[in-house]
């Protein structure tokens, strides 16, 4: 037997009420006509003793009424075999739809991948007892909320992710936050990549992808990257990573920051690598960041998942690798991300990507790749939902055996009424007396 409302057990404290009533009750004196008073003592009525209950049988019955009512309020449930089977047939699904930029590509069956993903999500939700569907450009970000919702569901649970499964969409580590009893089903939409030679998708590591992008941007781009894009409410702008044209004007004390091309955007971010020749002069003129958006960008960069992975691979921490200051560039106060990551390193590439994502939520470069995870790899991540045993926190919905206890309460109340009415006030059971005559 399980109890769907265990807090109702606090109602047992109510048993103290009839006990206190029986201990403290001062029933009115019963008036009794009597033939004589010569054998009765003078009016020496003492205060009612409070260490003795007045009527044990009635008290027990009243306590039983409170206990039965408490039992009913706990919504008890007897788990029969039928109910256990019923419980096993129910399933809750949290469907996460990948709405990243890559999902806007044409799908195999016509339409876009996101359309196909939505159809798959609707089908999965319809087949579930209860379901919740969410779309997100980063499926991994929605996993925590989905798991939290699933754990509240009193039935089998399954997490369904519908995506094209580009390498950056989901990594194995993302699924570690999903409890083992929650099933995982991965539904691919879009083109089927088939199985590549060697069984691995080339460039599946996002770090390697970023590193490749950095290499393609040229060696100079790694020395001093320059990102432009809106910062603020409108985050859907393009990100531009440019090579290193020479700067036209000196910075601060006359030192010209070669390699920085701020462009026309006042919110452009400059990333200063250790190899930048004017680094010392630039930092000498730097000031602490003082604009909210600057703090926001710094936090986003440090919390970027790919950047964190690259930093951890190097055995460092994001805070030690990148700091933020402001400095005048071409007479304009700009945010400078000063990094200790050497140019041409994975950390530098990850930092560029993180900075790009921090100032612009539009599709990153990784979305442009055609690589997706292999079907075998996805199958290895999947697992069926575990059977759920009925527990106090996972009862059957809309079912309770509390009504039987309410019936018991009514019966006990009836018995209490009968006993109370049949019990004369101030009279004790008949006492056999010795015949004198």
């Amino acid at each position: 037997m399980i109890f769907q409302n265990p807090w109702a057990w606090l109602g047992l404290l109510g048993i103290a009420l009839p006990i206190a009533a029986h201990l403290l009750s001062r029933r009115p004196a019963h008036r009794q006509l009597f033939p004589h008073l010569r054998f009765l003592p003078a009016a020496t009525l003492k205060p009612i003793r409070r260490d003795r209950v007045t009527d044990v049988a009635l008290l027990v019955l009243r306590c039983a009424i409170v206990a039965a009512a408490t039992m009913a309020l706990t919504q008890p449930l007897f788990v029969t075999d039928a109910r256990a089977r019923d419980l096993g047939s129910q399933i809750a699904r949290a469907v996460v739809v990948d709405a990243s930029a890559s999902m806007s590509r044409a799908a195999t069956g016509g339409g876009t991948a996101i359309d196909a993903a939505r159809r798959e999500a609707a089908a999965a939700a319809a087949a579930a007892t209860v379901a919740r569907v969410g779309e997100t450009p980063a499926p991994a970000d929605l996993l925590a909320a989905s798991v939290a919702w699933l754990t509240t569901q009193p039935m089998r649970r399954e997490l369904v992710i519908v995506s094209d499964f580009q390498p950056t969409a989901l990594v194995r580590g993302d699924l570690t936050q999903v409890p083992a009893e929650i099933g995982v089903r991965l539904v691919r939409v879009g083109s089927d990549p088939g199985v590549r030679p060697g069984g691995q998708t080339p460039g599946s590591d996002p770090i390697q992808l970023l590193a490749g992008a950095a290499e393609r941007a040229g060696a100079e781009a790694a020395r001093a990257a320059f990102c432009t894009g809106g910062v603020g409410p409108d985050l859907h702008r393009s990100v531009e990573i440019r090579p290193d044209p020479p700067c036209a004007k000196p910075v601060g004390n006359g030192v010209r920051p070669r390699g920085l091309t701020p462009g026309s955007d006042p919110t452009a971010i400059a990333i200063v690598f250790p190899g930048f020749e004017n680094r010392a002069a630039l930092l000498a003129a730097a000031r602490p960041i003082d604009a909210p958006w600057m703090f926001d960008v710094l936090v986003r960069v440090r919390e970027d998942r790919v950047f964190q992975a690259a930093v951890e691979r190097a055995g460092q921490t994001p805070a030690a690798v990148v700091t933020a200051v402001t400095g005048p560039v071409d007479g304009t106060k700009r945010l400078l991300l000063v990094t200790t990551a050497p140019a041409h390193s994975l950390m530098s590439a990850a930092l560029i990507g993180a900075a790009s994502r921090a100032i612009d939520a539009s599709a990153p470069a990784s979305e442009l790749t055609d690589d997706v995870r292999a079907a075998d790899e996805l199958r290895s991540w999947e697992r069926p939902p575990a059977a759920v045993a009925p527990t106090a926190s996972q009862p059957l919905r809309d079912q309770s055996d509390g009504r039987w206890w309410w019936i018991a309460v009514v019966a006990l109340l009836l018995g209490e009424t009968i006993i109370r009415r049949s019990r004369p006030v101030g009279a004790a059971p008949e006492v056999p007396h010795a015949r004198v005559a």
Binding site: A29, Q32, P35, F39, A43, A427, H433
Partner: protein, 328 residues
């Protein structure tokens, strides 16, 4: 016989016709005929006895005196009917229900039944009336004379001892009209009842004797010294003996309306002890004074109580009657 055997106190009490009730009780009591328990004083010659100073000269046998010059008194055995005076306590204290106002007492179920049948609750007084009626029935049916005296308020209500069915009917009618009320002056009633007994007879007092004082016992002794046979029938309800009450109770005196507020459970032990002593003293006092005594709990069927009493009285009075007649 089989009818009367099943009659409970409440069943008999529920019979409106007091004569019928009395007859049922008496028939139930006469299980196997026995000698009459009430012995009169015959006027038939019994024996001679040497004259003693103070003997009435009219009983002096002049013929023997003339023949032998000796003084002898003649003794007679009275053959006239017995004169019995029934003293009935009609005070308010007798208006106490058999159940004592306690619903748990078994008798109350019978009381409820009797209420349905006759609209009358069996009380000590009703029980005493039944006993008095039955006694009157017994006495008159055996050819003796019976009278009744009680108090209604401050005045006496009585019927002098007479015989005959007409008188019996009058007695039963009077009994049926009696209502218990007020206080009770037992000594006055006894004194007045003794005066109404013109010749030596039987004085039967039916009461709870709560009001009995030394004056009362002195009056009873005086009645006994006048040659009357005195019988005390003490009627009590079981609740008065066992005191089946508990909790906070306010007891109100039926006669004086005096109230006493106490914890009945705590007072029960002392009460029972006091009542036991009271009953023991009453019995002992009666025996010391040479009076007949019987306790009649109201939960005992009237015919059974009457039968037991009559049998016991018959056994006890047989040698006494012989002795009395022997003294004549």
């Amino acid at each position: 016989m089989s009818v009367t055997r099943v009659l409970s106190p409440s069943a008999v009490g529920a019979i409106d016709d007091l004569e019928l009730a009395a007859r049922l009780i008496v028939e139930g009591a006469h299980t196997g005929r026995h000698r009459s328990p009430f012995h009169g004083f015959a006027a038939e010659f019994s024996q001679h006895r040497p004259y003693r100073p103070g003997d009435d000269l009219k009983y002096l046998d002049w013929k023997i005196l003339g023949r032998t010059d000796r003084l002898y008194s003649r003794r007679f055995r009275e053959t006239t009917n017995l004169s019995a005076m029934i003293v009935l306590d009609a005070s308010a204290s007798m208006n106490f229900p058999v159940g004592g106002g306690v619903k748990d007492v078994k008798v109350v179920q019978d009381v409820k039944t009797s209420r349905r049948h006759a609209g009358q609750e069996l009380s000590k007084f009703r029980y005493a009336v039944l006993m008095a009626a039955a006694l009157a029935h017994v006495i008159i049916e055996q050819g003796d004379a019976a009278g009744l005296i009680t108090m209604s308020g401050d005045r006496f209500v009585y019927l002098p001892p007479k015989g005959g069915r007409t008188h019996l009917h009058a007695m039963l009618t009077m009994l049926a009209r009696l209502e218990p009320a007020g206080a009770w002056q037992l000594d006055r009633v006894l004194a007045r009842g003794g005066e109404l007994l013109k010749r030596r007879g039987v004085m039967v007092a039916v009461s709870d004797f709560y009001d009995a004082t030394e004056t009362t016992y002195r009056e009873l002794r005086r009645i006994g010294h006048r040659g009357h046979d005195v019988a005390l029938l003490q009627v009590l309800s079981p609740a008065e003996i066992s005191f089946p009450y508990s909790g906070a109770m306010e007891f109100e005196h039926l006669e004086t309306a005096e109230r006493r507020f106490l914890d009945a459970g705590e007072a029960a032990a002392g009460y029972r002890r006091a009542v036991s002593e009271f009953l023991t003293d009453s019995r002992a006092q009666a025996h010391r004074d040479g009076h007949d005594y019987a306790l009649l709990p109201t939960d005992v069927a009237p015919e059974r109580a009457l039968r037991s009493y009559l049998i016991r009285r018959a056994r006890a009075s047989a040698p006494a009657a012989g002795a009395k007649s022997g003294r004549r």
